[in-house]
């Protein structure tokens, strides 16, 4: 008999916070708003910790059914929550990082209008994200899935006065909807085949199946459709386009939603559904390919971006690609591992970037920064930690997780590995590029101009937001109307989360040190039960070594095929790639800063392609959006609706009117004509009746 953990409280707590702030926050002071938001978010975090503390005593998976939600014939869905190792990890990451970002936001958003609104949204996001994680059936997961999309929409469009922000929010939602479309279809397939959406029931039903190695069966279809959903949420090719735009949101949002938590939902979902994916090897391969491609592709774009947040956005996409790659090679625990470390360092990166932006008064263009190292040292150092972590240099967290992914990728196919290593190099390069451009060299910003402008903006801002009801929504997004000028370090409330995350970026990876480096890979072992419990019934004759995921023993850490030495060599190569990137960045941006322009000039076409993100947005617009609008407007609306159907109706109405006019002209007013008609009618009647009479005789 397991204790009742009241899992439902975890998501509900932030929802209460959101509701309180949403309904009454307008009348609260900022402190009160912050207190409510932090209180409920912190309570959820505390509860997560409390659960973690007694985790070992639980019978897993721990499922709690609250009540029934839907019921239609034999099909039913409950409000039910489940806890296992995987969701516990996610729970801790989300509540922990989420709480830190909440704290950070208290300082970051202090000057903004719509303070209560912001925290209400943020708490709402937590509610949906926790629902997503704790759901014990796909539909409830879908609730969270869509809900985080909503929260993301709201938060991206937080500065709704800017058209670009509003558009970005909409874009994010719609692109996610495309993914959700796949998710939904996958759900329908499950209902069709398993009659349920409950994880336990679905997985139990799936287990007897052997992997669909030949052809595409329904499991593959489900897996691919789920993948489509995951691609949407986790910004993978081809649905990644929304994430860079999403940087229009306030920076803490980017940190929380678009780096640490929401975007990783896709990875979580695939890992959660690993039972299905494992039986759909071709789908799994698609996952891996998409992940690999995305990782590389986004990294190349990241090289040429000048907006500090855009760089981080592409880097997020790239890192998510890694996680997908891990999932694709059935290294789910590695994927989750990277998810966790990524949450630390990428969250930190965004928060630090926010701090930088905060410091320079809203500027996001790295070409107008530089030399900030001295002025904002806390920010600089924490950011450096994060950069090292993301670049995969030991002993920082990113090193361990990335290394494990690359190693497992290599075991599947060397191509994944090669691309992964190149990506690691690129990552290191553009991240250090970012670091160097921002913190080293001379300050290139036009401080006075910026501040003058800023002050001005700030006044406008105050004029709007001083009215407590913050009706102004979000005036002057990044204009912080500080009374004092100059580049300045952020307040303590923002720095504390930075520091905590920096520490985590350092030590976060140590829970998963692989055996080759003398660790025990505890993380992998911890998650083991989740991923092992569903080993496919391997049919030796069907299983193909190169493509099928290695059976679960491999996740144990002891590698039967290759020894530790090989693994160490590969580790060395990837570290080398990271160092190479660091060196190149140093060369280009510290040693000889004029070089990048020359290179860009000499490779004009390529550079332009990269700088313009390969014109993918334009391509989509040209391929889908514009034709769709044109067809809808010209063909459907004007053409069919008005031109055909309505025209036919009006035409027949006109026709009736013309006919009516004709009939009317029978009425010439001339009596003799009338008599003529009567005579005709009479003659017709006579003839008809005589004919009838003769016929009946």
């Amino acid at each position: 008999m397991t204790p009742n953990l009241h899992l439902w409280l975890i998501p509900i707590l932030p929802l209460i916070g959101a509701a309180i702030n949403g309904f009454f926050g307008r009348r609260f002071s900022r402190q009160a708003v912050a207190a409510v938001a932090l209180g409920f978010c912190g309570a959820a975090f505390a509860m997560a910790l409390w659960i973690a503390a007694q985790f070992s005593s639980l019978a897993l998976p721990h499922v709690e059914v609250l009540t029934s939600w839907l019921n239609s014939g034999n099909f039913s869905v409950d409000y039910s929550f489940a806890l296992d190792q995987l969701s516990l990890v996610m729970l801790l990451i989300v509540t922990g990082v989420g709480f830190l970002i909440h704290v950070y936001s208290v300082g970051y958003m202090w000057e903004e209008g719509g303070y209560y609104r912001f925290f209400s949204y943020l708490n709402l996001f937590m509610f949906f994200m926790l629902t997503l994680i704790l759901a014990s059936n796909y539909l409830l997961m879908f609730v969270g899935w869509e809900g985080v999309g909503l929260a993301s929409y709201l938060l991206i469009g937080f500065f709704f006065i800017r058209d670009s922000a509003a558009a970005a929010g909409k874009k994010a939602f719609i692109v996610n909807r495309i993914g959700d479309f796949g998710f939904l279809i996958a759900l329908f397939l499950m209902i069709k085949h398993f009659g349920s959406l409950d994880f336990q029931k679905v997985f139990d039903a799936v287990k007897p199946y052997s992997p669909e190695t030949a052809g595409v069966g329904f499991l593959t279809a489900i897996a691919l459709l789920l993948l489509l959903g995951a691609c949407g949420k986790s910004a993978q090719i081809p649905l990644y386009v929304w994430l860079p735009d999403a940087m229009e949101g306030p920076t803490p949002v980017s940190a929380l939603i678009h780096a640490a938590t929401m975007v990783t939902a896709g990875v979580y979902m695939i890992s959660r559904s690993h039972v299905i994916f494992e039986r759909a090897p071709s789908a799994l391969m698609v996952v891996a390919i998409i992940g690999t491609l995305t990782a590389f592709f986004a990294a190349t774009i990241g090289i040429a971006q000048t907006d500090i947040k855009k760089v981080l956005a592409y880097s997020t996409i790239s890192q998510l690609g890694y996680m997908f790659m891990a999932c694709g090679v059935a290294a789910f625990s590695a994927g989750i591992f990277h998810l966790m470390t990524h949450a630390f360092f990428k969250g930190l990166l965004f928060l630090a970037a926010g701090s930088v932006i905060h410091a320079v008064g809203g500027e996001q263009d790295m070409r107008r920064m530089g030399g900030l190292r001295k002025k904002i040292p806390w920010t600089f150092w924490t950011m450096t930690f994060a950069t090292i972590a993301i670049s995969g240099l030991p002993p920082f967290a990113g090193f361990f997780s990335k290394d494990e992914i690359l190693w497992r990728a290599y075991q599947a196919s060397w191509i994944y590995w090669l691309v992964g290593v190149i990506t690691a190099f690129l990552t290191s390069f553009y991240m250090f590029r970012l670091l160097f451009m921002t913190f080293f060299g001379e300050y290139r910003g036009d401080a006075e101009g910026v501040y003058g402008h800023d002050e001005h903006d700030g006044h406008a801002n105050h004029a709007g937001s001083d009215g407590h009801d913050s009706r102004a929504g979000a005036p002057a997004p990044h204009g912080h109307g500080h009374g004092h000028g100059g580049i300045h370090e952020s307040p303590a409330i923002m720095l504390v989360p930075l520091v905590i995350l920096a520490v985590l970026s350092l030590v976060g990876g140590w829970v998963g040190i692989p055996g080759s480096l003398g660790g025990g890979n505890h993380f992998d072992k911890f998650l083991g039960p989740v991923f092992r419990s569903s080993t496919p019934a391997v049919n030796p004759e069907h299983a193909q070594p190169g493509e099928t995921a290695p059976p679960e023993q491999t996740t144990e850490g002891s590698e039967p095929k290759t020894g530790h030495s090989t693994e160490i060599i590969f580790t060395g190569i990837s570290v080398g790639a990271g160092l190479l990137g660091l060196f190149l960045a140093w060369l280009l941006y510290i040693h000889s800063p004029e070089l990048p322009d020359r290179i860009a000039g000499s490779m004009h076409g390529l550079y332009s392609a990269v700088a313009h993100k390969y014109w993918i947005d334009e391509l989509y617009a040209w391929l889908f959006v514009k034709p769709l609008i044109a067809i809808s407007g010209v063909v459907f609306w004007r053409g069919i609706d008005q031109g055909t159907i309505d025209a036919a109706l009006n035409g027949s109405a006109d026709g009736a009117r013309d006919l009516s006019d004709e009939v009317r002209h029978m009425q010439s007013g001339n009596l003799r004509s009338y008599a003529g008609w009567i005579a005709v009618g009479a003659a017709a009647m006579i003839a008809y009746m005589v004919w009838m009479g003769l016929r009946t005789q």
Binding site: H665, Q667, G669, L671, R672, A679
Partner: protein, 100 residues
């Protein structure tokens, strides 16, 4: 002995003449006379059929038709006079204010 159908055909012809008159005459009074012609044709039929069935009611019917015709004539001519007063024409082709 004359077949009664001769009488009937004669009545039919008279009736048809009346109809034709109604159609082709322009003077309202003449048109009215055409109607009388039609009634006369019908009367002949009644009398002929009365002979065929040996039923005097046919002849009585004729009596009633004549009374009605007389009454109609009185009213009709009054109406025509009334029309002539307002329109000063008896040409039916010009009596066409009401149309369409």
């Amino acid at each position: 002995m004359v077949p009664l159908s001769y009488y009937l055909v004669l009545s039919g012809i008279l009736f048809a003449c009346g109809v034709v008159g109604f159609l082709i005459k322009r003077n309202i009074i003449t048109i009215f006379m055409s109607i009388e012609l039609m009634l006369n044709g019908v009367n002949l039929s009644f009398v002929a059929f009365a002979a065929r069935w040996q039923q005097l009611s046919g002849q009585v019917f004729v009596f009633f038709v004549m009374v009605v015709a007389a009454a109609e004539a009185a009213v009709g001519l009054a109406i025509i006079i009334a029309l002539f007063r307002t329109r000063e024409t008896l040409n039916i082709d010009q009596v066409n204010l009401l149309k369409l």
